[in-house]
């Protein structure tokens, strides 16, 4: 008993009305470090305790507004600056279409931060080692009793006086509450706790590694292989043809995708085809965008053949080989159009102009690595 440190003197009250008048007396007699405990919120208690109105609303306001502003700026940056994409012929900046997301982000950030602020910053939770927890007193006030606690750290605290004071106010029981051992010695450096942390992090990192590097490449999660799909213009096998309109009328030609006469003749393609585009800034921009989208997964951002597919697809050769540097534009165009060995053709995904733009962009990459004499001047 001797070496224990006193936290507070706490009295139990049986009746709400008695409690409120007792709280008023406690407030009036100059105690500042006291608290009231009740199983549910009591109307008029904050007034009796002379508490200032909660300022939590300001937290909400600040975080709500920042959420809205962040969402707006972010969408503006994405849609107008970083990734301008024409959708339905509409302008890049379209405020009305931003409103729903702005609203949701406002609500999300306001709600989550208000609660987090209250719990973790105002209440300093989690705090399971608080001296009041696990006491007879707490077990009573969490069911049907009310309690007033006067802390020993109050400037005008005196043990016997405080006890008598609570009794005179009508407390049916008065407890002395002490700090527990564990309040003094933090548990964080406990061996068990450190072991627990170690094992947890080991499991988490192991599972993450397994999911990202192995599971995602197993069937059916494999990214590109074994697709249950229809190849263009092939025969339907898994559903009746009349139930779909997948097969176009014979002789159909898609816009911008003219028939390609050199499918089996790369030599003729290289000889006859001439790049119709000039390497202007605009063309190169298109070429870069399309290259990064369609080619970079396998060929790497700079054409070194450093695939991002982790061996799921054989790595292609570098695009900086002599063979390719000396190849005419038409030859590269041909490879993009019909593919080469295991590389698939891109004729159905990339329009003819875009393919030529990519060729220009590949030239830029090649000259960046192996500049011509004239470039170095």
């Amino acid at each position: 008993m001797e070496n224990k440190i006193l936290y507070s003197v706490s009295g139990i009250f049986e009746d709400v009305n008695k409690l409120i008048s007792a709280v008023k007396t406690v407030t009036d007699s100059g105690y500042t470090k006291f608290d009231v405990h009740s199983p549910y919120p009591i109307h008029g208690l904050p007034q009796a305790m002379k508490l200032k109105p909660s300022k939590l609303g300001w937290v909400t306001l600040v975080f709500g507004l920042s959420g809205a502003l962040f969402a707006f700026l972010f969408m503006y940056w994405v849609n107008v600056i970083d990734y301008p994409l024409i959708v339905g012929g509409k302008p890049f900046y379209q405020l009305p279409a931003y409103v729903p997301v702005m609203f949701e982000v406002t609500v999300l950030s306001a709600a989550v931060f208000t609660v987090a602020w209250m719990l973790f910053i105002m209440f300093k939770f989690p705090n399971n080692s608080h001296p009041l927890i696990d006491t007879e007193y707490m077990r009573k006030v969490s069911v049907d009793k009310y309690g007033i606690t006067i802390q020993a750290s109050d400037p005008i605290f005196d043990l016997t006086r405080a006890k008598e004071f609570l009794q005179s106010l009508g407390a049916s029981e008065v407890f002395e509450i002490y700090f527990r051992e564990s309040n003094v010695k933090p548990k964080i450096f406990d061996k068990k706790f450190i072991l627990f942390l170690g094992i947890t992090s080991l499991i988490v990192s192991g599972v993450t590694y397994f999911i990202l590097n192995h599971l995602l490449f197993m069937s059916p999660f494999n990214w590109m292989h074994e697709q249950f799909r229809l190849n263009p213009q092939s025969k339907l096998t898994f559903t009746k043809p009349e139930t779909t309109n997948l097969t176009p009328v014979e002789g159909t030609v898609a816009r911008g995708f003219l028939p390609y006469p050199y499918t089996d003749r790369p030599d003729l393609a290289e000889k006859n085809l001439i790049n119709p585009l000039l390497p202007t800034e605009k063309t190169l921009k298109v070429g870069k965008e399309k290259y990064l989208t369609f080619c970079s997964p396998c060929h790497g951002n700079f054409g070194h053949g450093d695939s991002r597919l982790k061996g799921q697809f054989p790595n292609p050769p570098t695009l900086h080989s002599d063979k390719l540097r000396n190849m005419k534009d038409g030859g590269i165009y041909h490879i993009i159009t019909v593919g080469q060995n295991i590389m698939p053709g891109y004729a159905s995904q990339i329009s003819s102009d875009e393919r030529w733009a990519i060729v220009h962009y590949i030239r830029v990459l090649q000259r960046a690595i192996n500049p011509k004499e004239s470039d170095l001047k």
């Binding site: 009305n17 409120i20 709280v23 008023k24 608290d35 009231v36 009740s38 199983p39 549910y40 919120p41 009591i42 008029g44 208690l45 305790m49 909660s54 939590l56 909400t60 969408m75 994405v78 849609n79 970083d82 990734y83 379209q94 279409a97 931003y98 729903p100 997301v101 949701e104 609500v107 306001a110 709600a111 989550v112 208000t114 609660v115 105002m122 939770f125 989690p126 705090n127 399971n128 080692s129 608080h130 009041l132 927890i133 696990d134 707490m138 969490s142 069911v143 049907d144 069937s219 059916p220 999660f221 990214w223 697709q227 249950f228 898994f238 779909t244 309109n245 990064l292 989208t293 991002r308």
Partner: protein
Amino acid sequence: MRVIDYTIEPPVVEGNPSLSSINESIIKPLESKPTRGWYIAISISLTMLLIGAISLGVTLWKGVGVWGVNQPVGWGFDIVNFVFWVGIGHAGTLISAILFLLRQRWRTSIARFAEAMTIFAVMCAGLFPLIHTGRPWLDGYLLPYPNQHALWVNFTSPLLWDVFAVSTYFTVSLVFWYIGLIPDLATLRDRTTNKILKTIYSILSLGWRHSGRHWQHYEMAYLILAGFATPLVLSVHTIVSFDFAVSIMPGWHTTIFPPYFVAGAVFSGFAMVQNVLIIIRKVFRIEHIITLDTLEKMNKVMLATGMMVGYAYAMEFFIAWYSGNPIEQFVFLNRALGPYAWAYWTMVTCNVLFPQLFWFRKFRRSIPVMFIVAVFVNVGMWFERFVIVVTTLSRDYLPSSWGMYIPSIYDIGILIGSFGLFFTLIFLFIRTLPVVSIAEVKAVLNSSQPSHGGNH
């Protein structure tokens, strides 16, 4: 005739029980061994869940080709179920947030349960768009994060708004629910003698001490959350309706969709809450806490929202005629008389006709009648989504590309599975957490608040 005095609010809880007996009746189910009924119930729901899991497994293995979706109906059961489940969730937030702001004290006894239902329903709902993508393991791309392809999501698409709306809704509902649970978890912590449970409750209750200084901020936080949840719940189904209304399909491209969807959501959600509550209050013998008066009020809400939905059905037809647009007119005639007319008339019967019984006090207060009507409402509201999604897609502008939609057994299996998931979660919830908010119910007892002008 009976004369009812509407100026006196009836007590929320019947029989004016003491504070400690409230503790007893709410916590008892958590401490006693599960009854046989519970075991039977959870084995049924687990079986349903298993059926869903198998169907989903087959879908993942073979691809969404095993579903009934195809051209032209690319949205089938997956989207129907999504809209249905999100709608179910809405009643929970309505009860916990909107009725809180409107100071409807009768909500206290059902708010906790309704919120839990919201969370479970949104979980079921969220599942469907995720598997609808075909390769759910790539769903990370739904979020705007800086990825290696330097691609961003399309912020101007309603489908992306949906991602934000549903995930915000889930998070905020969860926070709202958890905040309400903290004092009750602390009460459980103080009560239990079981060491493991005590540790769990201690961790979850974060060290709540029922302190008056905390209660003050806590009530403020609750008010703020309710204030945000209210517009949020309206926004969620509005945005879900945008998935349809922002497109240019006949029968979808209408301005009535947002309010119509919200009313329908509340309607079906109340039906679901009412159904489940009727069972729970019976099984747990808490009829004095979830009273008949409360259920009657829920039936009134269902009557009102049911009428709104009925109005929307009529208005859609009127506008189709009034617009003079032949395609719009065709779509609505096709709904009522075309190949899916049976679905349309099921919907009208269940949603508009049956709830009319609630005009009569006798039916509003009869448990069997209200239970059956609410079941019909749930069926009807599911068919409403089916009618909206499928009739429009199967016959749009071009007769040459019309086609029928026939769900496959995997579609049906996954639907059953979603019910299994929902009920399994509910059954686990009622065994592990207090189904009624202990602190809130105590606060609305007649004798629990100080009498005005008491002894100063």
